[in-house]
Amino acid sequence: MSQDHFQEDQETDQYTKQVIENGLSRRSFLSRAAGGAAAAGLFGLSSLPVAAAGTSEPKGLDFAKSSDGGATLSFLPKPKPIRDREIAETLTFDVVVVGAGASGVPAALSAAENGAKVAVIQKAPFALSQGNTGSGVDLATSEKAGIEALVARLIADSNHRCNPKLIRQWAYNSGEAVRWVIDRARQGGSPVVDQGSPVQRAILKVNGYSMGYVTSFFGPKPYTTGDGMRHLAKTAEKAGVRFFYRMPAVQLVQNKAGEVLGVIAKGPNGKFTKFLAKKGVILATGDYQNNKAMSDYFVPDVKHLERKQLDKTGDGFAMAYWAGGVFEPIGHTKMLHDFDAGPASMCDMPFLAVDRKGRRFVNETVEMSLLNNYLRDAENAGHYSQIFDSNYMTQAAAWPGKLVPPEGLKNYMPDDPSPKKGVFESQVNTHVADTIEELAVKIEADPATLAATVRRYNEVVASGKDSDFGKPADRLIPVVKAPFYGIHRRVRVSAICSGMLVNENHQALNADGKPIKGLFLIGNLGGGFYGGVDYPLTVFGLSLGRCYTFGYLTGRHVAKL
């Protein structure tokens, strides 16, 4: 299937213009301050000396500046150049991938399969990622109009603020890429399966057009994509990729013209190794959720919300920034979920929901993935509970979602001695009690508050109209018959999905919209794929599917340079 009618003209597209104008880069504030074109001329285009010494900023500047030049950004300290005499060893490859996660491992293998000599340098002691589901479009079973309708849906999901070219690139290449990941991970011993279209129930038709999907499932828990990428790494090793673990990348190597020549990493012994990359460095270091100052700046909404990941300190962001890259403007897209406390299939069912104290706070038809917006304060910090009584199997039977019977709920109950299956035992948080007050204690809410809330809710239900929050009448069921159930969910930051400006080759662009030679950004570090307030759940597994796809494409592209 071709996308020829979208062959881009040479002019800079709207999305890129917007990011260059409002995003954060080393030179954005300077060129703005000095007046557009004149400043661009002043600092030159391709010959800009953006090497670590950084002559484009005023002397003595130790930190980045906000895009209007007004604020000093402490989370982007100017790196002190590591000198050659501090380097213990220098190794040369064609392609160096930084970060062995959902985008990095596929990129490395893809590059190796296309003939490149590849190194992966990884911060953790092994490949590390998270999640289970990663998706792509099956071109063979999808109508072209359906693919375009899905693309339009995804653009709308991102409040029309993404780069449409990247969405289309995912749509037309993801089926092939996800299938490839499944095949290669299996070769490494992974039990991964293709769940195909059935799991994408809600989007089998888009605007009336038929669609088919490839849905990789690395699971069930506790097996995840982390294990999956470790299996994929085995295949990559067999293909000749060399992995360097416990080796966080700390600095890019650039020449005077700003071309990226390699990257310096720090080993567990404290010694530096320089990895030279003849064709390019692919940064795949994930998001920056564990860098508090960086998150507070770009996504202040999640200031009080807990994190699901560890050590994602935005290292790749800082490196790409100092190499001349551009951050997407403030207001980054966030992903906050809790699929673990109770059954995932019940997380969007509109049972009575109460905040951490026990107060009703929302029309419960709002999806779990958006509830973080109501629970952003320090007190709630993402905590809420779904409350229902023992009639739920019959009274909620017609609701969308899938009910798990009482026997099955025990799998999610930390207080129930039954052995757990297919869940993270330390994350389950479903409770049952004979009275509302007892239930309140178990879900850590205030008993009197919860009792009052339930009383009021039952009045609303009895009246047949939700005069408090306007929930549809067929979503109102009373909480009267013991035992009572509570699923204490805690939405935490799964990922931050905004990144830095790239073109369709996933090559970083600088503040003039020019590609930075030798530098590629994939995974959540790559920008342009989202743009809404929250990550959309339209395509289940879009995030991982996009990571695999852009890893696959970028590895191949860089290998062929």
Binding site: P125, R246, P268, G270, E306, S426
Partner: protein, 126 residues
């Protein structure tokens, strides 16, 4: 400050002294004194230099320094294999290679890195 080797009133006096005298040489000496006071190893006849080296610039101590006395983390993981509800020294995030200092602090109160996410992993961290 839990296992300070200096009795409390003396600590206060020392702090007061350090605030009053503020030469740069004294500041360094003060830092060293503070380090000794807060060190959990100090009472066991272990000197600052054994971890920090002799240079005046006191860099972060690499984990290898811990291992040179305490032994390999893989052996440690074997010793704590039966800890409930899970072995803190062998986990999904770091395998057996978690940096000791993420939980066990030398000059500050130790912390349980698991706890924020895994709320029932209530380990006591020495």
């Amino acid at each position: 400050m839990k296992r300070s080797i200096v009795p409390k009133p003396a600590t206060a006096l020392l702090a007061l002294l350090l605030v009053t005298l503020s030469g740069s040489g004294l500041a360094a000496a003060g830092k060293a004194a503070k380090g000794a006071r807060t060190s959990k190893h100090a009472g066991q006849g272990i000197t600052c230099a054994q971890c920090h080296g002799k240079s005046a610039k006191k860099d972060v101590v690499p984990m290898q320094q811990c291992l040179s006395c305490h032994g390999d983390t893989k052996d440690l993981a074997v010793r704590t294999a039966k800890v409930k509800p899970t072995n803190p020294h062998e986990n999904r995030h770091f395998g057996t290679e978690a940096d000791c200092n993420r939980c066990h602090h030398e000059h500050a109160t130790s912390e349980n890195l698991c706890l924020p996410c895994h709320q029932r992993f209530g380990f006591k961290v020495p």
